[in-house]
Symmetry: C2
Subunit: 65 residues, 2 copies
Amino acid sequence: MCEANAYMVKDGKEELLMEAVDLIEPEDNNSGYRIMSIFGEQKIIKGRIKSMNLVSHKILFEKTV
Amino acid sequence: MCEANAYMVKDGKEELLMEAVDLIEPEDNNSGYRIMSIFGEQKIIKGRIKSMNLVSHKILFEKTV
């Protein structure tokens, strides 16, 4: 399976937000993203995408300044 | 491998931007994203992420209004 783990980068550290993320969609007001795992878990992430590395299964978010 | 195909959604149609995308990073000025394939091909995509579905290997971009 090709889901990825999502992290919030804070002070240079990666805090796990959710494992096995399948879906990522921007929120309507552009304040962040809705992410959903293959298990159906959902979270709203306030911030922006910092980087995604699909082969490494890694999605990094960061707070918007 | 878990790379995905990137598409631009225009008038409801999906136009292929790049196959086998591995890396996605926002441009410094937030005008869009830099995407890179596992083959090292790079493109700058003007627009925003519309949705990503990792299990389906699909990244959709759309022009910002």
